[in-house]
Assembly symmetry: none
Homo-oligomer: 411 residues x 2
């Protein structure tokens, strides 16, 4: 089965929006053994959209379209589609009701223009949109399938998973393809590559470096793909397991959440240079209030003294960016909060704040438990936002490693 993805929107052509939808759809179809052969992007002009539809239907069996389903003047995908397939647009009362309710819930009267969203091509299957107002559509014509989805990535992804993939999976019946991603942190791409030198099936492995670490992706297309992927993953864990924290899309904060929950430990965090990012990441996990007791973002020296009980003398003598201050922060937040573990970070995110002895990117991380308070010095680069990401990841890594040991002790 061959597929084409058509993405619609002037903002894609002008480069204002990077089209991530087509890559996402490409991935999902590839996983089902369906080959995406073309990706076409056109603007909001009717002729171009019509031409793109016709070209796609002429060369593939499955066409997935995103974008142009909104309520404003430049959203014309539905109209072009209706004309091409000679479908009348009719008002769907149920959709209108749903859109109206969405607005009501937020205490807003529905603007009249949203009635447009409830106009649907006759005789076409509707795909429900649980996060937005525009429904999607599915038309089967001969052996060809065309799906229209909204361009908002979150809505598109939800509808792809709920309304598209189950249908095309049935249609595809193909060679098994199996993929697995192992996520690492605390090691560079080239060091990781060196560690994995002895790996058989290196050809099936890709390295994807990011700010939070390097992902190792294994892809195998074979009748025994599942087994073989597991064998490669096992080999990788044997060679570099100490750096592997999770699989797939798992995040370090998710793993840490699980560790804390299983050990029934509570955490408190004191941040300076990461400015709340560590707390933000930890609290992105549903249910994190069970183990995340509090966070403090002690940007000023006074707040370090007041909220963490650090002595002014420590800061004066060693500086706010020092191992001593980091340790006092971790111990302070732990003691004052009554949590089991205190995690702290203090450093210079940049671009300003450097001193002759303390360059931008310098950071101290500390971890405090009832048994001990330890700290670690690291040096990062000079981009503020990248530094915040990397520093927060390094702090979470330190916590993750500690919790791995703790969990073993409990066994």
């Amino acid at each position: 089965m061959k597929a084409e993805v058509v993405t619609i929107g002037n903002e894609i052509l002008s480069g204002d929006t990077v089209d991530t939808n087509s890559a996402f759809i490409g991935q999902k179809l590839t996983e089902l053994g369906i080959q995406v052969e073309w990706i076409t992007s056109v603007g909001d002009r009717r002729e171009d959209i019509g031409q793109a539809f016709e070209a796609a239907l002429g060369r593939v069996d499955l066409v997935i379209v995103t974008g142009g389903l909104g309520p404003t003047h430049d959203d014309v995908t539905k109209k072009v589609f209706a004309r091409l397939f000679q479908k009348r647009l009719v008002l769907d009362e149920q959709i209108l009701e749903r859109v109206r309710t969405r607005f009501q819930k937020r205490g807003i009267i529905m603007p009249q223009i949203n009635v447009e969203q409830a106009m649907v091509p006759e005789g076409v299957k509707l795909l429900e949109n649980r996060s937005g107002t525009a429904p999607g559509f599915h038309l089967e014509q001969g052996n060809k399938h065309i799906f229209l989805l909204p361009g908002v990535p979150k809505e598109m992804r939800q509808m792809l998973a709920g309304g598209v993939l189950p249908v095309v999976k049935e249609l595809a019946r193909g060679e098994e393809i199996c993929r697995l991603t192992l996520r690492t942190t605390g090691i560079s791409e080239s060091s990781l590559f060196e560690k994995l030198k002895g790996l058989k099936e290196m050809a099936s492995v890709a390295f994807l470096p990011g700010y939070s670490g390097v992902d190792i992706r294994i892809t195998i297309r074979d009748s025994r793909a599942g087994e073989r992927v597991q064998a490669v993953a096992q080999q990788i864990r044997r060679l570099a397991g100490d750096f592997v924290y999770g699989t797939g899309k798992e995040t370090l904060e998710e793993i840490i959440g699980r560790q804390l929950r299983e050990s029934a430990l509570k955490l408190a965090v004191a941040e300076s240079c990461t400015g709340g990012l560590i707390a933000h990441r930890l609290t992105n996990i549903p249910g994190s209030s069970d183990y995340f007791e509090r966070g403090v973002v002690t940007y000023s020296n006074e707040s370090k003294i007041q909220l963490l009980g650090i002595s002014a003398e420590t800061i004066r003598r060693y500086g706010a960016v020092s191992a001593q201050t980091a340790e006092a922060m971790a111990a302070g937040v732990r003691k004052l909060s009554g949590a089991d573990i205190g995690l702290s970070i203090t450093g210079i995110a940049g671009p300003t704040g450097a001193t002759p002895t303390k360059p931008v990117g310098l950071v101290f991380i500390s971890l405090s438990t009832t048994e001990e308070t330890v700290s670690k010095r690291l040096q990062f680069g000079d981009d503020r936002l990248v530094n915040k990401e990397r520093m927060s990841q390094a702090a979470l890594e330190m916590l993750w490693r500690k919790l791995k040991v703790t969990a073993k002790e409990y066994q």
Copy 2:
């Protein structure tokens, strides 16, 4: 002048690589007043590449191709191109020498396969590649121009700037194109559209909704584009100015930083449901330590009592998610920190934590100054991460509005 971008590579179709090249090229051409009308991505198959070339040349004057110029078996762009335009591939000694030197410098003997890179279509202009081994090509045929560039973003960008843009700038000769983005917050796309109904030149306006608000982008192509864009922007500000916080890529936290700096005010933040995201956003701005005094992420009731001086009675009586608690948080963090303004937020990010009277998405935001402490109740949806984004934006919006008034009072 109309353009098409053709990107080549199986990795784009399978979604392993997000195609950022086409967005980058789209931006650069748009800046020169050249309209990109299509973006097409195909894999490494000769027929598809040939078809994509022919389709593009049939509908536009300028075709920019990236990818498939490497030395390996799946790099066939050059071959397809040579056959389509009936050009012989001949060895270019100079390029061969350059490639060989690159390898020598790195102490590696050039693999034989790289000779392939020195084979160039006869009678075609070469584009030098300063960061890689594959040269690019430029062919003029009638009034049509086709450029072949490598797919590696760094090499592509360099060659686009050096070898492509100067040429096409000459060809595009000068209709001016002018763009401006106005950023709004606190209003839905459709309500904004209603407000702007009376707008002349609606055709030049695009609405780009996101979690932090709706961007309004004005694009005008005309000999007086600059003036006309300014006129449209002025009209928009007249109709919906109360919701416009900035232009271009400005963020609300950036604007707030400027407001706080100009008014010489210090800010302290107490967060519950946003879990540190507000502090994270505010501290993303370089130099924010000048006005951001501290943040606290008071997830537990104890931390609210301990760090903010809220009475246990207030929490018991009204609940942690209430106007009363929000106001006590804002006033508490302001007083204890000695900052001029206290901003607080407490709510239910979800998916858990709802009660019969307090649904997921409910949030109270409060702002406290020496004159008054006010609060606001809002209702969002049920996605935790989206809620954190939207809630943080709503809190920053409240602060931004207050600071606008404050600034006026100072005048």
